[in-house]
């Protein structure tokens, strides 16, 4: 692909802190290489802001290779930008052309309050995991890995669900700010495997209860989460979560 440079107009959400009202700021990004990642473009813009003695744009990032799930940016109405199956750090500037105006917003959800600019607090996800996204293992020697037979198909499905990086794009993309795709991936990766079976009922009930408590919306099966998920987690996981939840609700002892 041919390399080119571009000048862009950025409309970036600026918000000092959680309590600030926040507003869009228009900035110019000059001489941006088409081979840069979207975050590298932000690095260039921030360098200039720092040189001018201004406050750089706060944004989350860590691995910059698509596996940490930190780079939460809503770009031109799309979670992680226009490309399918990518995080913002994997979005390259060749997705844009010279003269484009790009609107960048933080994830919008009551359960993900803005910390500063484009950085949001996703600890609601951590609390959902704490409510049941684990298996209890006795202390002592680990048993031989091969002593529990696992069906290959189920192992593959569990692995596909475990690809979830907890980035929150599903919540950001959903018109209801629902966290069902995230919760369903975390429930599925364990429910599909024998190690997850002993706690499958309490897990589904507790994680859904925590999800509701955090103020996420409910799922209306629009499929926007699946379309935006950088790890392409399937809606079949949400159906599985619904089955797990129904089964647990019908038979729970408490």
């Amino acid at each position: 692909m041919e390399h080119y440079n571009m000048n862009l107009t950025l409309k970036v959400w600026r918000q000092k802190n959680k309590n600030d009202q926040g507003k869009f700021e228009t900035l110019q990004a000059k001489n941006i290489s088409s081979e840069m990642s979207f975050l590298e473009m932000f690095d260039v813009v921030n360098e200039e802001l720092i040189n001018e003695g201004k406050d750089p744009i706060a944004f989350d990032h860590d691995c910059r290779e698509g596996i940490c799930g930190m780079c939460s940016m809503h770009i031109n109405g799309r979670a992680h930008g226009p490309w399918d199956g990518t995080t913002t750090c994997q979005l390259h500037m060749r997705a844009f052309k010279d003269g484009d105006t790009i609107t960048v917003e933080p994830w919008r959800a009551g359960a993900f309050p803005v910390v500063k600019d484009l950085t949001v607090d996703r600890s609601a996800f951590d609390r959902i995991i704490e409510a049941g996204g684990y298996i209890s293992v006795n202390t002592g020697n680990a048993q031989d890995a091969n002593c529990i037979p696992v069906d290959k198909t189920k192992a593959d499905l569990a692995f596909a669900a475990a690809a979830c990086i907890g980035c929150g794009a599903c919540v950001a993309a959903c018109k209801n700010s629902s966290a069902m795709l995230f919760v369903s991936a975390k429930v599925s990766q364990l429910a599909l495997l024998p190690q997850g079976h002993p706690e499958k009922h309490s897990r589904a009930l507790n994680m859904v209860a925590q999800m509701d408590k955090e103020g996420f919306g409910s799922c209306t099966n629009t499929g926007a989460c699946e379309a935006e998920c950088p790890k392409e987690i399937s809606l079949t996981n949400i159906a599985r979560l619904n089955r797990e939840f129904i089964g647990a609700g019908l038979s729970s002892e408490k």
Binding site: K175, D212, N242
Partner: protein, 227 residues
């Protein structure tokens, strides 16, 4: 988890909306089958006999009242969920993805449901209320002793009014758009999402509930109007 807690969770409420929705899906099939008798060329003999049976059979009456409760329950919980879903995003996006990430139908459920609800109220006032509580013309068919309430005649007269025909067609467009997403969505809520069945469920949702049934309903007032 107690039942009261179970049905107060987001999934629990969705299960109620889905279950009532699927029940209403089964109802529209029966209702349409009955309505087709309006197109018979028998001066309404079959239709009026059917209406008299439906209006007096106690089991049918029990289900008919249950149906009204189900519609209210479906609407009430769905409205509640819609408001809490909107509240889950206090600050809206400046730019929205539109149809890039989800189908238009899937995002219009509340609006189409509201159109349908208004339609149902008008429809009940036009026929149900008139049949049970209003003054009805009577018709005695040859070979019958008792006269029948002539709901057939009422429908023929009602659909001579152009704007009412338009309203009924709009109501059926609302039904169509609501069910194109609604049927399959309810299946997903009950955990039914499997590649062996998804094709069939999409076909039933779109072609049967989304197109065939609303078109079937809409044809009747249009045919009567132009008769």
């Amino acid at each position: 988890m107690k039942w009261s807690q179970f049905f107060n969770t987001s999934i629990g409420k969705k299960l109620l909306v889905g279950a009532t929705g699927l029940f209403l899906c089964s109802f529209v099939i029966v209702h349409l089958a009955g309505n087709f008798q309006l197109l018979y060329n028998d001066e309404g003999k079959a239709f009026n006999a059917y209406a008299a049976f439906m209006g007096h059979n106690s089991l049918i009456q029990f289900i008919a009242w249950g149906l009204k409760i189900v519609i209210l329950l479906h609407a009430f919980i769905a409205i509640q969920l819609t408001f809490s879903n909107r509240a889950a995003r206090p600050v809206k996006y400046a730019v929205n993805p539109g149809n890039q990430t989800s189908s238009w139908f899937s995002r219009q459920m509340a609006i189409m449901g509201s159109i349908l609800f208004i339609f149902i109220v008008i429809h009940l006032a036009n026929f149900w209320a008139k049949f049970h509580y209003g003054e009805m013309p009577l018709h005695t068919y040859p070979g019958q002793e008792e006269p029948l309430k002539d709901l057939y005649l009422v429908s023929q007269e009602t659909f001579k009014t152009g704007w009412l025909v338009v309203l009924y067609v709009i109501g059926m467009i609302g039904l169509s758009f609501h069910l194109i997403h609604g049927f399959k969505s309810a299946c997903q809520t009950f955990g039914l999402n499997h590649k062996k069945y998804n094709g069939l469920l999409s076909f039933i949702g779109i072609w049967l509930f989304g197109i065939a049934i609303p078109v079937g309903f809409a044809i009747i007032p249009v045919v009567i109007y132009f008769k």
